[in-house]
């Protein structure tokens, strides 16, 4: 408990509004009418369906398997029948649709045959990683990076510190707070399990000062092996790089990963899920979600993954009103969603109903430099803004656009109301696109050169074989006749096609 604390640069002190939801006991959400499970709820390649429409599935059964290394399987979250596999709206900032598996629950909620791993300490760390992967566990903090990848990195190089991140820095969200208060034992056991899986020397659980009850709950359970740290409230302390800086004083190198400085970080939710997966054999099928904002009864819910957002909001007395928006995630980084039929996925931590979103028009930037002072990544948000607007990608890279964590601090303080983060997102997307185009162009160039070489070679060969000329001419006439007849045939066919087309139209 004598760890020297540091502070990360920039950051904000925002009113947290956590009192809206963090005092009430979480309730288990009743089964919805249908469960929509997107095949991609994580960063990486989407899973591949293993079931057909009409199949019966049981709770916890794998219905889509992982493809590739950076991917996790999807499990049925309740027992029922598959009624559709197709494109549905998913949490996506552009409102796009993505492939999903839809289950109609039968109401029995029967568990699939699951088996637990007793006494994890005797299990090989690698086997433990496999168990965690098969349970479909991803980072529950928000990004949704498959957990086993981080664990594997841990076994491949020496891990000095394992940090369990309980810092819920975003305003309004209290699901981790509630989870710790209600299930501290899961977290402590899960922490020990992950520590075993990565073979870490030190282990820290970090919380913020505004969750004293959670702190006490954990304090009662831990021994000397785990440090429990309370940090002053500051946004965005829950960011991976920021928390590492705050706890260890080390900075993750730009473009690098925490493991490069010997640190692995997991969310408390991930730790709890790992515990359940290992000791009980339960895959990741439910999570804590905060439903808060302008609702009659804001609170935390334990939600089956795939439950529509609307179902959760109804439980808290949500009534549709004009001028309100639904935000998935917190007010700083969450995304605005168009409709409420989208499902809660593994990375959804909060459903926020708000009418006080930023509606004011954008004024020109007055270069006040407030954004520079609050940027936790020590970037120059303003310069990035200018270069993003002039699409000067070279400069954007030079100014480290890709180190931006999109925390929204700059846009929050901007007196001109500029949606800075939106510009950065757009620029990042465009740069990625350009890089892809560049790669394509390089590839095309290679093929063009190869073809030219081939043509030259063929020309040379033809030159050498002047004797077989007469044969060639014959062949050529044959070919021409064939093409001519084929053209005739197609014309006739196309006429026919047109007729049938117009016939069906009528």
């Amino acid at each position: 408990m004598n760890r020297e604390l540091h502070s990360f640069p920039g950051g904000l002190r925002i009113t947290t509004h956590k009192e809206l939801s963090n005092d009430k006991i979480s309730i288990i959400t009743p089964l919805p009418d249908r469960i929509i499970l997107p095949l991609q709820q994580h960063i990486g390649t989407p899973a591949e369906p293993l079931v057909k429409i009409g199949d019966k599935v049981l709770k916890g059964q794998i219905i889509a398997r992982a493809t590739g290394y950076v991917s996790v399987p999807v499990h049925a979250t309740t027992s029922g029948r598959i009624i559709d596999i197709g494109d549905y709206s998913v949490p996506d900032s552009l409102g796009l649709k993505a492939p999903c598996i839809v289950i109609e629950p039968d109401g029995d909620d029967i568990w699939f045959d699951i088996k637990s791993t007793e006494n994890f300490e005797s299990v090989d760390p690698k086997a433990l990683q496999n168990v965690i992967r098969e349970a479909g566990i991803v980072g529950l903090g928000g990004a949704g990076f498959p957990a086993h990848v981080k664990l594997k990195e841990g076994t491949e190089s020496a891990v000095d510190t394992l940090i369990i991140n309980g810092v819920e820095c975003e305003p309004h969200i209290s699901c981790d707070d509630r989870l710790i208060r209600e299930k501290p034992a899961y977290i402590v056991a899960g922490t020990r399990m992950i520590r075993h899986a990565v073979q870490a020397k030190h282990c820290v659980i970090a919380l913020e000062e505004d969750m004293p009850e959670a702190f006490e709950a954990l304090e009662r359970l831990i021994d000397d092996d785990i440090e429990l740290i309370k940090l002053p409230v500051k946004y965005p302390q829950g960011g991976e790089r920021q928390l590492i800086k705050a706890l260890t004083g080390k900075e993750v190198p730009s473009g690098g990963l925490p493991i490069h400085i010997g640190i692995v970080m997991h969310n408390v939710g991930t730790a709890a899920a790992a515990y359940r997966a290992v000791t009980r054999g339960e895959p990741l099928i439910s999570r804590y979600v905060t439903v808060t904002g302008e609702l009659p009864d804001p609170r935390n819910l334990q939600v089956l993954i795939g439950t529509p957002v609307r179902h959760c909001a109804d439980l808290c007395g949500y009534q549709e009103k004009e001028g309100e928006v639904i935000i998935l995630g917190g007010p700083m980084m969450g995304m605005h969603v168009q409709n409420m039929h989208i499902p809660i996925i593994k990375t959804t931590n909060c459903v926020l109903v708000s009418s006080t979103f930023n509606r004011n028009p954008e004024m020109p930037c007055i270069r006040c430099g407030e954004c520079v002072d609050v940027c936790p990544a020590e970037l120059l948000p303003q310069q990035l803004y200018w270069h993003a607007r002039s699409r000067n990608y070279e400069r954007l890279r030079e100014y480290h656009l890709f180190d931006c964590i999109e925390c929204g601090c700059c846009a929050y303080v901007c007196p001109s109301n500029i949606r800075l983060v939106q510009y950065y997102r757009k620029a990042k997307k465009e740069i990625a696109q350009e890089e892809r185009a560049r790669r394509g162009a390089d590839h095309a160039l290679q093929r063009f050169i190869a073809r030219n070489e081939r043509l030259e070679r063929e020309m040379q060969e033809q030159h050498d074989k002047k004797d077989g000329m007469s044969d060639n001419i014959e062949q050529e006439t044959d070919k021409r006749a064939y093409i001519q007849s084929a053209v005739e045939r197609t014309k006739a066919k196309r006429e026919q096609l047109k007729k049938t087309d117009s016939g069906t139209d009528e």
Partner: protein, 182 residues
């Protein structure tokens, strides 16, 4: 007298200067062509009026072509070329075509007669097939140069939009026939 001498000396000096400067200059030009070529989209579409991207780059260096003749690259390429060459940014010259979202060629396999004419036309060997067999465009390799459209005797090739991953967006039959007829 001394004036004449000095002028002669200077003339000799400048003569040597000019003769010696020739070689580095061609090397510099070569490098500039490489730099321009690396900015072009490499579709090899010949829309600029030259037989490929590199010939166009050479023409720019020789000051025979302007920087706004590349429709596939569009405004973005023009901007980059302007930065590189220190010229003004100008709009795309409409005489060479319009720029739009990336499209790729798509062969209507019901109509294709397998004449391999398009295969010969494709600058990047992105069409697979053999004589009297169905042809198909390999979507990942197609640069959208449109060079295969003109040679097709049955007009079975059309340009279609691609999605983010570079795959064809499926169109409904009506729009498809509309595209074919246009």
């Amino acid at each position: 007298m001394s004036g004449v001498l000095i002028i002669l000396l200077l003339a000799a000096g400048i003569g040597i200067f000019i003769v010696n400067n020739k070689h580095p200059d061609t090397r510099d030009q070569e490098r500039l062509v490489d730099m321009i070529d690396s900015l072009l989209p490499q579709t090899q579409c010949e829309k600029c009026g030259y037989s490929g991207c590199r010939p166009y780059a050479e023409a720019i260096v020789r000051n025979q072509a302007d920087i706004n003749q590349c429709p596939p690259g569009g405004q973005h390429t023009i901007r980059q070329l302007a930065y590189l060459l220190g010229r003004d940014i100008k709009p795309l010259n409409p005489a060479y075509g319009k720029s739009g979202p990336k499209t790729i060629a798509w062969i209507d396999e019901d109509i294709c007669i397998g004449c391999i004419k398009c295969i010969h036309a494709c600058p990047v060997d992105a069409i697979a097939g053999a004589l009297q067999q169905m042809h198909t465009v390999i979507a990942e390799l197609c640069t959208g140069c449109e060079l295969c459209i003109a040679p097709c005797p049955v007009d079975c090739i059309s340009m279609v939009l691609t999605n983010r991953a570079g795959h064809r967006i499926k169109l409904k039959p009506e729009t498809r026939s509309a595209q074919v007829s246009s």
